[in-house]
């Protein structure tokens, strides 16, 4: 879901310029249009702020290759999920 068309108002939290909002499947973050390393920083900032098992849904315009080692270091995994054409959507979850 594109945050721009989301009827729920997108939030901006922390230092990140990325849009964040909450849905039933987890906390969403849209980092499209940001220059490296802003998407990486925004996603990791969000992941680091989550204390429970809430998943994070990432809306990205490209495969965030630099993210994976950092996620692994924090004990999170990434799962690619269905997304509209032109978007890469990831579901991030903390390891059990």
């Amino acid at each position: 879901m594109n945050a721009a068309t989301d009827p729920r108002a997108p939030e901006r939290e922390g230092l990140s310029p990325a849009k964040r909002w909450r849905e039933a499947d987890g906390v969403h973050i849209d980092v499209r249009g940001l220059s490296p390393p802003a998407p990486l920083v925004a996603i990791l900032e969000l992941v680091a702020s989550i204390r429970d098992a809430t998943p994070v849904i990432v809306h990205h315009e490209r495969d965030p290759q630099m993210l994976y080692p950092e996620l692994a270091e924090l004990g999170w995994t990434a799962e690619r999920i269905d997304a509209p054409a032109g978007e890469i959507r990831l579901k991030l979850e903390r390891l059990a």
Binding site: P36, P37, A38, Q65, M66, Y68, A72, E73
Partner: protein
Amino acid sequence: MKVAAGAFLAGAGSRLLPASIPFRFFGAAVTYHLLAWLALLAGADALPRFAGGLGWALAALHLITLGVLGTAAIGASLQLLPVATRRPLGSRLWPALIWWVYSPGVAAVALGMGTASPWLLAGGAVAVSAALAAYVLLLARNLLGARGMPSVVAHGWAAVVSLLVLIATGLSLACAYAGAPGLQRGTALALHVVFAVYGFMGMLALGLSYILVPMFALSGAPSERAALTSCALAALALVLAGAAALDIAPRALRVAAIATGAAAVALHLNLMVSALRTGLRRELGRSFRLVRIAWGMLALSFALGLAVALDAPYDGVAMLFGMTAVAGWLLTFLLGILQRIVPFLASMHAPRGKGLPPTPSALTDDRSLAIHYFCHLGALALLALSVIADNPWAGRAAAGVGAAGAASFCVFFAIAIRRMGRGAVAGRARTAAAS
């Protein structure tokens, strides 16, 4: 599609090169690092007052510049620039071909210098130049289609132009030993030094820092406007230094170049320190202690460069300047960054199987890096002592300690590669432990 982090990296449009490409460049760089210190051991007699000329001291210098700095810069830029430009490199064959021509070429250049064999040196220089020319084309093609990070792209273009000057002057100097006509030696040498250290390597180091430092510190992107201003000042400094090398008001333009370059670096370092101060990751360990030391050495190199430009009445000042800029700044910076990049890339490339990827920290052998850290800093101090005291024995000690550190860095690299190959096993073991 359920995948562990990083399992879908190598798609057709991926900007991540196959592991074999960056790691073959990094592997050659760490090997040449060890060989450079060994060459210096052989040429330590000439070290304290080295002023050029064939021999093992010159070979050691070029094993560092071409062998370590150049090789690692090619590998790192081919991997990182596509991230900044948002454009895949478009070729996997050319980087491999470049490595196959460049690496033996560097060995031939070093052997030709060490054994005073002009034809071997000239042959090596032709091979290195051909490989660098192919690299320039790859780089330029990627930069031409850039769609992001204008400051990194601008630094990339400055590095491309500098590399063209470097190739021309390097070929001229090398072929002059074999009797071929070329540029006047003093002019070629002055251009060669400036455009190698502050041009090609310097601009790449400054430019790629705008990706790497925020990425490792987990900070926001530095101000594009400030980064572009720093780049413009640095490029202007290169132009002024180039004009001085061509004998146009040499003293005044050298001083102007140093002042302009120092302003560029001050702006750059301010952005870097700000990134480190505001990043989510505050503790960056030994690698960034090396990076901070390198930044200090970069600033010091301008002070020493000024002393050289003003003909300071001390005959070791040119050697101290060269050592500070090449070993203190560029080599220390590269080794600090490389010890973060290697495990990071290895984690991205580790085979997954059904398991989880190994983390960068699990791929890092900290003990070998600790040994390298103390040996490297000890070697730098001994090198300075050798010049200040005009003592070749201190130079020999520096080479021995430096070689021990370089060997330890090779161990770190080999362990990272071995653990990367076992990634799937490690991942499966961790999955089993977690379940």
